[in-house]
């Protein structure tokens, strides 16, 4: 295939959680996806420790940028822009990526695009299946998020339809894995055990599926408690816990609710495509059930390959490239890491002339993110 040099060449940096990701794309084409993960350092804590993640990002940042450039075989001078996750995420972790991206863009004389992590999870599918349909219906499920989003324009108009009111789906996997003593992270190991088990062995509750419940919101806290209680009862009775059946039945409950609500959202909004992203999208049962239910409903399912579903720099680059292609305003040099960046803000445009460079004053948003930053300013 001829190299399409008319498409924007963008480098993206992602540090919102425990993966230091640097990706490079040209338009919808993935050129490099370098990731350094600190997940092993968190495993013994049973969850991501913010300060451990931030320290690891600092060490991995420059080497990961250089690895991505080498993998892509491009020169930094040819980049059309630098994109970075501005939020949401862990404040201290985001700050490392945002600071590096600003320094990188400034030193190269390239425009900077602070973009939304959730919108990036959706936009990454352009690298797998080409241009996103408009609107796109997206189900994002990971250790940090569980959201149903309707995106008429991924660069400017993303609407939250529903999200979890307690735990994220991935968190529920982690917690149940801990109860079953299966280690961290829980997603892959539960998926593996579930393949040997019977999903109908135990009927666990489906959260927020009653007639009066919010249609598109999720809740996994009650399910988590029900599963833990069931396991404890077995243990208390001196019986063996059927790990595979518990894993399969728990997973079935999560996946049933996720796919049911996602398909319902597509039907209600007349959308004939469903995109699933986030780390939990790698779950084999979620993929299988989504495929069947989408097919039954006449909906085309789009799920990127697992490596693009988990946090990575390519997804940030993909959204950055779309920002460049659509002529969206770049960010200012005073771009801040915003741990609670609303999903409705696909990017953080600069103020003033719309290019932002050299404007070191004022503030982009009106919600209070200083509070968020200062809360754990000491070590995160």
């Amino acid at each position: 295939m001829a190299r399409r040099t008319d498409e924007p060449l963008v480098l993206g940096i992602e540090t919102s959680c425990d993966e230091t990701g640097v990706g490079i794309v040209r338009g919808h084409t993935l050129l490099a996806d370098a990731v350094a993960s600190s997940v092993d350092e968190h495993a013994r804590f049973g969850g991501v420790v913010p300060e451990v993640a931030s320290r690891a990002h600092l060490e991995a940042m420059v080497p990961t940028i250089q690895r991505a450039l080498k993998d892509a075989g491009v020169s930094a001078k040819d980049l059309d822009g630098i994109a970075v996750t501005a939020g949401p995420g862990l404040a201290g972790a985001l700050l490392v990526g945002v600071s590096a991206a600003k320094a990188y863009a400034y030193a190269l004389g390239k425009p900077l695009y602070g973009v939304n992590h959730l919108a990036s999870h959706i936009c990454v599918d352009q690298l797998e299946h080409g241009a996103l349909p408009e609107p796109t219906m997206a189900l994002l499920v990971s250790g940090g998020h569980s959201s149903l989003l309707l995106a008429p324009d991924i660069t400017a108009d993303v609407r939250p339809l529903g999200s979890t009111i307690d735990d994220a789906a991935g968190e529920a996997f982690d917690k149940i894995a801990r109860v079953l003593n299966l280690g961290f992270p829980g997603g892959p190991v539960i998926d593996r055990y579930a393949r040997e088990g019977d999903p109908d062995a135990i009927r666990f509750p489906r959260g927020l599926t009653g007639p009066r419940d919010p249609i598109y919101d999720f809740s996994f806290s009650g399910l988590k408690t029900a599963v833990a209680r069931w396991i404890e009862a077995k243990r208390a009775a001196g019986e063996n816990v059927p790990v595979a059946d518990v894993a399969a039945s728990f997973q079935e409950a999560v996946v049933d609710v996720l796919t049911r609500k996602a398909v319902r959202a597509c039907k209600d909004h007349g959308v004939d495509h469903l995109m699933i992203g986030g780390g939990v999208a790698a779950n084999t049962r979620l993929r299988a059930m989504a495929e069947r239910r989408c097919e039954d409903a006449g909906i085309t399912l789009r799920v990127p390959r697992p490596k693009l579903c988990t946090d990575n720099g390519a997804m940030v680059a993909a959204l950055g490239a779309e920002m460049v292609a659509r002529g969206r305003a770049s960010s200012s040099w005073d771009l801040s890491a915003d741990s609670s960046l609303p999903v409705t803000e696909s990017h953080v445009p600069g103020h003033g002339d719309g290019h932002g460079h050299g404007h070191g004053h004022g503030h982009g948003h009106d919600h209070d993110h200083f509070h968020e930053l200062s809360k754990d300013n000491l070590y995160s």
């Binding site: 420790v49 404040a91 490392v96 590096a100 030193a107 801990r178 209680r229």
Partner: protein
């Protein structure tokens, strides 16, 4: 020689350009919560004021702490990224050394201690034989616990000003905050005289706050 110096290890966000002889331009703002936002605009401002472009810089000087703030990493990752793009070296210095050097430039002689605010009711501190000579490793302690060790010693820095019960001879008239200009001047002197720099790692001096979650909590009512 054209050095770009930056330090975000303390509440100060400070940037300076130094040509080997003197400070060409400097910017210092004290705002412990906005290191990430303030640093790049400050670099841009300092370069503009000096009428220079970033690619004229021959080395990056950075204070690597000790520092308690999330902001500590802002300066270090910015320095590392600039250096990678420009293909110039990073000269890393202890942040306390910059404050000590500034005290010397302001006329302080003899022995003294430098202390900065480590938050959590602690200070980062080190002892100096003179403005160029640190005689202890940087440490983090509760002021009351080091009162005996610093009793009667001249003390400089915002950490000393904060705890006058421990630091009895505080020179509040001397610069309390880090100045990238002083840090750059110290680096320029070291580069001339073959002095040593630190490795680029941040001086956290504390282990990450991280607890292994307590044993799984039983949710079944007893």
């Amino acid at each position: 020689m054209l050095l770009l110096a930056l330090d975000t290890a303390t509440p100060a966000v400070t940037v300076a350009l130094h040509d080997g002889d003197s400070v060409v331009a400097e910017s210092s703002q004290v705002d412990a919560r906005r290191h990430g936002e303030l640093l790049l605009p400050a670099v841009d401002r300092v370069l503009a004021e000096a009428g220079r472009k970033l690619d004229a810089v021959t080395g990056i000087v950075v204070g690597v702490g000790p520092g308690p703030y999330t902001g500590l990493r802002v300066g270090i990752v910015t320095a590392a990224t600039f250096a990678a793009v420009l293909d110039v070296p990073v000269h890393s210095l202890c942040t306390l050394d910059g404050i000590a050097y500034a005290a010397g430039l302001a006329g302080l002689e003899g022995e003294f201690v430098v202390a900065t605010d480590a938050r959590r009711k602690e200070v980062y501190w080190a002892r100096y034989a003179d403005a160029r000579t640190r005689v202890t490793e940087p440490a983090v302690d509760r002021p009351a616990e080091l009162a005996e060790r610093v009793a009667g010693l001249t003390a400089v820095g915002a950490g000393a000003v904060l705890y006058p019960d421990a630091f009895t001879d505080v020179r509040a008239d001397l610069p309390q905050h880090q100045s990238a200009g002083a840090l750059a001047a110290l680096a320029a002197e070291k580069l001339r005289t073959g002095g040593e720099f630190l490795p680029g790692q941040p001086l956290y001096l504390r282990r990450p706050d991280a607890q292994v979650p307590a044993n799984y909590k039983v949710v079944t009512p007893q």
